[in-house]
Subunit: 151 residues, 2 copies
């Protein structure tokens, strides 16, 4: 069932041209800067976006093929279900990143926190409006893997 | 450019059968409970998901048609760009919700915080691993509208 036909609203300009160069694993920091280049026909949709400090970026894993329901994450030797990981090999190859909006110049959004490859198609941008307090989060196997890595 | 063909991995069971009944606007609380019914062929992908307290649910606005780049949000008389709002009328009709995972029974995830209509197709589920601290968030026109509503 195709629920709609995705189209790129723009593309990511990122320092990463090879997925191996993107920091992954426990404690990986995503503070690389990059640009979300929105296509001219969608620029009007950015109106008032500069008031937000953080954005959700929904993008396509366009260089990933197929999916596996169980797989190994870079931070853990054990396998986990795909919906409990951020693996690119998903039934719908949709990715989600949170970035900090540094500045806007027309249809270019300069952001910090890119973990996408250069040229990645962007599907949507949404304002980040609220957070779950850290003390309320349980992080399952990720927290367990962190504990094991300390010992 | 169709970057992939979306498919439903499951459907939302929600108390909302009419979009008018979904709480919207300033201070709207989304504490309704519902179920994410994952299709049998994707159940294996849920392995280990029960360790997470919160999940990102990516879903399709399947009852929305077309898009508008500038529109009015329910919480504000002023218009804003679509990428600065959660409007359903987006170039790609993709929605994002954060829900609290209450329990899992096989391929059924019981969750709190549904703001989807009953029968909504689910595209993806990802673990919610970290938050931006509230004190670091700027919320642009949303914060301004909240201020105006108090005065």
């Amino acid at each position: 069932m195709a629920v709609f036909t995705p189209q790129a609203i723009g593309f990511v300009r990122s320092p990463y041209t090879d997925s191996k160069s993107i920091p992954k694993g426990l404690g990986a920091r995503h503070d690389a800067e990059g640009t979300l280049e929105i296509l001219p026909e969608f620029e009007l949709g950015l109106t008032d976006i500069e008031g937000f400090s953080h954005l959700f970026v929904i993008w396509a894993f366009d260089r990933s093929e197929g999916f596996e329901l169980i797989g190994r994450a870079p931070i853990d030797e054990r396998t986990h279900g795909v919906f409990a990981t951020r693996s690119p090999r998903r039934p719908n190859p949709i990715a989600l990143s949170v970035v900090e909006l540094l500045s806007r110049e027309g249809r270019h959004l300069h952001v910090r926190g890119v973990d996408m490859l250069d040229g990645t198609p962007i599907l949507d941008i949404k304002p980040y409006m609220s957070s779950i307090p850290s003390e309320k989060l349980r992080r399952g196997w990720v927290a367990e893997a962190e504990e094991r890595s300390k010992s």
